[in-house]
């Protein structure tokens, strides 16, 4: 037995990337009405979905509501869930649809970050800003600048690839583009982001 095992190292290297190995087993248990499996699925994906949603619409309440709606929907029709290839893909896709639907239904809550005529700062944005400032004033501000100032599609693909670790097949079908254009879009997006980081330095 090695005493030199460094617990912190393992913890930090794993916290952002939960293993997807037993997703499908969870999925099957949920179909059979296992609420432990259901809570595991929530624990595993709520943060990931939230981060993705926030980059899509920057509206905290809307993202929270949509996560709640998605999981409620899942549980209420668990018996009729079909066999799927990737639980993560299914969740992100359904969550995206829900968000887009609510955004269209209720445009006044929608803050389009690409909209350069934006005159006001919505409350949620201000709240987020305060939190960010508390943690690390200078760094945070500059960094947040980088992702929020590139076009929406570019931001989305970076988030899907980097945070959600989707592969290109999944990204292309989620965003409705071909695999080669997904490759192009991602490298273009990284360039835009780097250009902004460079400028703000």
């Amino acid at each position: 037995m090695r005493d030199s095992l460094n617990q912190n190292f393992f913890k930090s290297s794993n916290d952002s990337r939960k293993s997807s190995s037993d997703d499908l087993a969870l999925w099957r248990s949920i179909k059979n009405g296992n609420d432990l499996a259901f809570s595991s699925l929530y624990n595993r994906y709520a943060q990931q979905l939230f981060n993705y949603g926030m980059h899509l619409c920057h509206n905290r309440e809307l993202c929270k509501d949509s996560i709640q709606e998605l999981f409620t929907y899942l549980w209420n029709r668990k018996e009729s869930l079909s066999e799927i290839d990737s639980v993560k893909y299914y969740l992100l896709k359904s969550f995206r649809n829900l968000l887009i639907k609510s955004i269209e239904k209720d445009r006044k809550f929608f803050v389009d970050l690409d909209d350069k005529h934006e005159q006001f700062q919505p409350e949620t944005f201000v709240e987020e800003e305060i939190i960010l400032k508390e943690i690390n004033f200078l760094k945070r501000e500059k960094m947040n600048f980088a992702l929020s100032n590139i076009p929406k599609r570019q931001r989305e693909i970076i988030v899907l690839r980097y945070f959600n670790e989707m592969n290109y097949q999944e990204i292309s079908s989620l965003m409705g583009i071909s695999v080669p254009s997904a490759h192009n879009l991602l490298s273009k997006s990284l360039q835009s982001m780097l250009a902004i980081i460079g400028k703000s330095k």
């Binding site: 037995m1 095992l5 794993n14 939230f50 709640q68 549980w75 945070r140 960094m143 780097l194």
Partner: protein, 335 residues
């Protein structure tokens, strides 16, 4: 660090930011990783710019991650659970819209009345943990329970008016029971009908797939068994373990801390076989394992290993037993 190191000289910015070894170095550097990358830069001077860009990108991305606060995370989960049951009511409301006011006010009154009684009625309280998660619970009598992964604890919140404090457990839990002035007993029930009765004490209950194990750390407990002919009852002393399986029980002297260390996020091993450890991986993390060579299952190890999540668990198992473990789609393969 056991990351397989790739051929970094061919890497683009994107390849770098998706590479776990690189990413970890950017987020929290370590002396070994620093050394590796300093050396790499010297060997690949033309690629330094790509590396620096990737580093900037990772930092920018990590800083722009949004997270739910703990209260929000819990609030959403509460919302999900309450809309599970409210569903029929909502359907009703949207379907009929005419002349509902007289009914509505009567109904509202009724709801209030019911709510009043419902609040006063003892409630069944349930705690669940998912794979790889433990939870500390403080009971109404301020006894403490630590619930291990993939377990369930239920009780009815009416202890003040009842003769005994009763709790039901599936999975595994550690109890620190508070002794009451009036000597009110504390009873734990396992799913196969075993009753554990105590006054104030510390013990661990393991109840998975029709097997129950009770390990006593301090104090005294009495166990009752659902044996058909006569009612079985045993008294346990600290440092003893009682196993109950297939209507038979067995009493052993054990090192109690081996069975309860999980509550401090540590797994203590004492010539524990790989087979038993993989069993823990399965019940606590839901991990599926396939083994090529069954002989390795008999290997044993002693010492302690920290517990966090499935991936880390398997990584440590691979290091401890010096065996190769590869991860496939949804299971681990042991060579």
């Amino acid at each position: 660090m056991n990351y397989p190191k790739s051929n970094y000289s061919e890497f683009s910015v994107e390849d770098f930011i998706m590479d776990p070894f690189f990413k970890e170095w950017v987020i929290q550097s370590s002396p070994e990783a620093d050394e590796f990358w300093i050396h790499w830069k010297e060997e690949n001077p033309s690629k330094v710019e790509i590396l620096e860009d990737a580093k900037k990108a990772v930092l920018a991305l990590e800083k722009s991650q949004f997270t739910l606060k703990e209260e929000e995370f819990k609030e959403i989960w509460k919302g999900i659970n309450s809309s599970k049951t409210q569903k029929p009511a909502i359907v009703e409301k949207t379907k009929r819209r005419l002349a509902i006011w007289p009914y509505a006010s009567a109904a509202a009154f009724l709801v209030l009345l019911l709510a009043f009684f419902w609040i006063r009625m003892p409630k069944e309280i349930e705690y669940l943990t998912g794979y790889g998660e433990t939870q500390k619970i403080i009971l109404p009598d301020s006894s403490i329970v630590i619930l291990n992964a993939s377990s369930k604890l239920t009780f009815i919140d009416n202890w003040e008016s009842e003769a005994a404090r009763e709790i039901w457990i599936e999975g595994e839990a550690f109890f620190e029971v508070k002794h009451m002035q009036d000597h009110q007993p504390f009873k734990v029930w396992s799913s196969n009908g075993i009753g554990i009765e105590v006054l104030g004490t510390e013990f661990n209950v393991y109840n998975r797939s029709n097997e129950t194990e009770v390990v006593l750390n301090s104090g005294v407990v009495s166990l009752s068994f659902p044996v058909k002919e006569k009612e079985g009852k045993i008294l346990m002393k600290p440092g003893e373990m009682v196993q109950f399986k297939d209507s038979k029980f067995q009493k052993k002297e054990v090192n109690a801390s081996l069975y309860t260390s999980w509550k401090d996020d540590v797994l203590n091993l004492d010539e524990t076989s790989l087979k038993d450890i993989l069993n823990v991986a399965k019940t606590n993390y839901g991990v599926d394992v396939e083994i090529e060579n069954e002989a390795v299952l008999e290997l044993t190890a002693s010492g302690s290993m920290p517990l966090s999540d499935a991936e880390n668990f398997m990584k440590q198992v691979s290091m401890i037993f010096n065996i190769e473990i590869t991860k496939e789609e949804n299971k681990y393969l042991i060579k």
